[in-house]
């Protein structure tokens, strides 16, 4: 059991444990903060997969951006928390059955398939320049579309969230 294995399992346990808190916690603020640790754990998993750029992006966008947005949402709609603590979940039994069947199927497929793992695993260092090159050559059209999507989302979110003025009579 070398250090690599031990650290991998530590990150896996952090991710799955925090995700369990997110899913099963009754308190929505606690769930939001557990989501922080889940994102951190996933960033660690990316580092294990030699994806340094994706790991940093994960930290910047998920932990720095999306989590703050979610906390804003929680705080701005917060007086419902006390109602929610009584009836936090619905349809638990069918959901447990569906999700466990699906998880068993997925993990069985992952376990039994021969994944054709490449025999010569390259050491991928400095992924950021190569990702940038791919974005501006092979994936140029999706890149431009993504920029338009972000602009539309920005304007649309501001438009939708705007408080509507009451008409004067």
């Amino acid at each position: 059991m070398d250090l690599y294995t031990i650290i991998f399992y530590i990150f896996a346990v952090i991710t799955l444990g925090a995700a369990c808190v997110v899913v099963f916690s009754r308190n929505i603020v606690r769930a939001a903060f557990a989501l922080l640790f889940a994102f951190f754990g996933v960033a660690g998993i990316y580092v294990f997969l030699l994806a340094d750029f994706i790991a940093i992006t994960q930290l910047l966008i998920y932990v720095g951006g999306i989590l703050v947005l979610i906390l804003f949402g929680v705080m701005l709609t917060s007086h419902q928390i006390h109602v929610d603590t009584k009836t936090g979940t619905v349809q638990t039994l069918p959901a447990v059955m569906i999700v466990s069947a699906l998880a068993g199927t997925i993990i069985g497929i992952f376990w039994s398939t021969d994944w054709n793992v490449s025999s010569q695993l390259k050491i991928m260092d400095k992924t950021a320049p190569q990702i940038g090159e791919l974005l501006l050559t092979k994936y140029l059209l999706p890149f431009e579309i993504a920029s338009v999507v972000l602009l539309v989302a920005l304007i649309g979110a501001a438009m939708i969230a705007r408080r509507e003025k009451k008409p004067k009579d």
Partner: protein, 110 residues
């Protein structure tokens, strides 16, 4: 049993895939059972993260190119846009209905 312990001691592609499968299942469970719309959003984020782990893991172990990383970047971009739009919609719903429980919001117009 001996084989299983040896398998556990050498993290490879299957370990990452099973981790992402478990994360996907937890996220799906949150989407299916939670009443609060923001909790549903958190479930969606978990599912997207699970998909991203899969992309990066296949990129590392099977194709050994960086195409999976680029797709992961696009997934993160779309997740950010989706979170912003969904929270704007949730705030608007909260102003109109005074609740964010998805099973109580059953009218298009009040």
């Amino acid at each position: 049993m001996q084989e299983f312990i040896i398998w556990l001691q050498h993290p490879g592609l299957t370990h990452f895939l099973i981790l992402s499968g478990l994360l996907f299942s937890l996220g799906l469970f949150a989407i299916l059972t939670r009443r609060n719309a923001i909790m549903v959003l958190m479930g969606i984020e978990l599912v997207l993260n699970a998909a991203n782990i899969n992309f990066v893991a296949f990129s590392r172990y099977v194709t050994t190119t960086l195409d999976g990383h680029v797709v992961a970047v696009f997934v993160i971009i779309l997740a950010a846009a989706e979170a912003a739009i969904l929270l704007a919609i949730v705030l608007n719903i909260y102003q109109n209905f005074n609740t964010v429980n998805v099973d109580e919001i059953n009218q298009l117009k009040d």
